[in-house]
Symmetry: C2
């Protein structure tokens, strides 16, 4: 045996021993492995938009206000519904006039920690992302310049903006900054897994602990679902098929072969609340998601996925699901804001029904 081979073997043994020690220490919360899952000490925010109470209050009002949409009927919270895990419980989203969108609505939860936003990562910050769905013709269908005028016509908003961004006025920039400030408050609560990481050995079941070991080793879910937020913030093709035309994902932003069919790794936090799963909502349950990985994904346009079939027993699969369920915190009941009252400027005066674009129904409602 050469010295090099000896060294390599020794290192392997040392590494395996360290991993074993990590798990041995897990129950006392001392594990170096587990340290990677501790909550980051701060929620990052850009220097020119440090959150404060006024900014968060304004952002919350905007987030819940349907007047942010062209129809005055769809708010950010319509799809990012706090009562449904800040998502919509739908396979894929719905937008203006019931438009069926092609991708699943991602949860807002922990977007504060993400380096890039959207399934294809085309947005680099919450400030950059906030007005995207507002101005999308298919989603909220609102010209953001018109929105500025609408908000400026509501006295309550003039006050809220002046408090939040003194002297900066109501602009696309301050609207986006305020929404981003509110989104930075939407972070996951303490889940059973977190209590286990902190040393409470009975916080999760033996099955969940086995699931975590599978997650971080044999199944190697941790290759992408890493850290406190259980995402590497990067892009991977995991062999999800589209029933309709193929969605090339990240490739539209970075036209590299490896990015064809690659999508941003979603968080697994509060995963019990955000079914159905995958970027097109193709699976209804976590059991179906595990089966997807076990079979190594599905073949799509002859593009091989980054994942490979797994050899897992029925118990292994149950353990993996059991572990994932420990990532869901106790549900939080969200307090709705009181929105500034007032009819927005763009509604015509007088008999303004005449100004509606679509004809009034001849059926009588309500």
């Amino acid at each position: 045996m050469t010295t090099r081979r000896y060294m390599r073997q020794a290192m392997t043994i040392l590494a395996l021993t360290l991993v074993r020690c990590a798990f041995a220490y897990a129950d006392s919360g001392q594990s170096a492995v587990l340290q990677a899952y501790l909550r980051p000490p701060t929620v990052p925010a850009p220097a020119d938009n440090v959150p404060n109470a006024a900014r968060i209050e304004l952002g919350k009002a905007l987030f819940f206000d349907p007047r942010l949409s062209g129809s005055n009927w769809i708010s950010c919270a319509t799809c990012h519904n706090p009562a449904l895990g800040w998502s919509d419980a739908l396979p894929t989203g719905i937008g203006h006039n019931g438009k069926q969108l092609s991708r699943a609505t991602p949860t807002i939860l922990n977007t504060a920690y993400l380096p890039v936003l959207m399934w294809d990562g085309r947005s680099g910050s919450l400030e950059d992302q906030a007005l995207g769905p507002v101005e999308s013709a298919d989603e909220m269908h609102q010209d953001p310049d018109v929105l500025v005028g609408k908000l400026a016509s509501i006295p309550g908003y003039r006050t809220l903006f002046e408090r939040a961004y003194p002297g900066q006025g109501i602009s696309k920039a301050t609207i986006a900054k305020a929404i981003a400030s509110f989104e930075r408050t939407i972070v996951s609560g303490e889940a059973p897994f977190d209590r286990w990481v902190q040393g409470q050995s009975d916080a999760i079941s033996a099955s969940a602990k086995r699931g975590f070991e599978l997650f971080t080793n044999e199944a190697n879910c941790v290759a992408c679902h890493s850290g406190f937020n259980f995402t590497d913030g990067s892009f991977h093709n995991i062999g999800v098929i589209d029933p309709g035309p193929a969605d090339n994902g990240r490739f539209a932003v970075k036209p590299l072969k490896a990015m064809r069919g690659a999508f941003k790794t979603p968080t697994l936090r509060d995963i019990a609340l955000t079914a159905p799963y995958m970027r097109n909502g193709i699976y209804r349950t976590l059991e179906e998601v595990v089966e997807h990985y076990v079979r190594g994904g599905d073949v799509r346009e002859n593009l091989s996925a980054e994942i490979h079939p797994l050899n897992l027993s029925a118990q292994d699969k149950r353990d993996l699901v059991e572990f994932m369920l420990t990532l869901t915190a106790a549900p939080v009941s969200v307090q709705l804001p009181v929105l500034p009252s007032g009819v927005t400027a763009e509604l015509p005066r007088g008999p303004h029904l005449a100004g509606l674009s679509s004809p009034a129904s001849t059926r009588r409602n309500p």
Copy 2:
């Protein structure tokens, strides 16, 4: 002067004196006139649906759950938005696939006290009304029998229904009863006017007090807007015109000549929160509403309205608006429920995007 004429004159003087006394006593809260505006001691409920905590909790979940609609995207709260005075700040409502409805969304506030529901009074109880918008093709577009199956497929709802209506199961009847139970909790808070009625003389301004006197006398608004809830629960033609085809209102339910163009008197409680006004949202401000009454309404199809022009000064008009604003209580921030998680049964399994009725967009969102 005959004895009869003398008696009549004496009675008139007595009556006028009593009214004057009533106003003189107003500031000490002793007025018999003001007693009519006291909050009813109880919120009425039918004997077979006495509200309790479990029924209210279930009803609140249903009220906020978009899975009550055919699209799984529209909840009762979408249009009856607690952040917008339990209405939608729109001239007329919006429904399934962005359908423009022909009538304004009425507030849910104090519907608990109403003898009949809907603008045309076609519904006799909250229980009878609750599923109307759900099954309307133009509104929530949900077959209620399918809804029963959807809710039964969500374990959390099975628990909530069993707690609320033990042994009664999930049915159209129990869904409606639960929603009605929640709606009975949506009653107006204490407004400045209420504090004045209770004897706090500085609770409303001198202008508002003059406005109240106009409201109850010269302007005679109280002929329809009477009692604690500022509605007689009856139907009147007040000469509101439709920009489109004329809406005959109550006539569709009671085909009497007097009911043509007559609509249920809406509450004035929290009126500052529910602009725009009238059954078709034709006025943006209370000032415009007052002008409508001052000119005696508008002529519609040669149907004379029940109202007649008023001779009011500019100050009178300001006083009336000032009074109406005292009927708005401090806004209440509503706590969203945590909805039972789970994908509803009607979503097909597997690659269920294929089951969507409308084609997926080729544009990529989100």
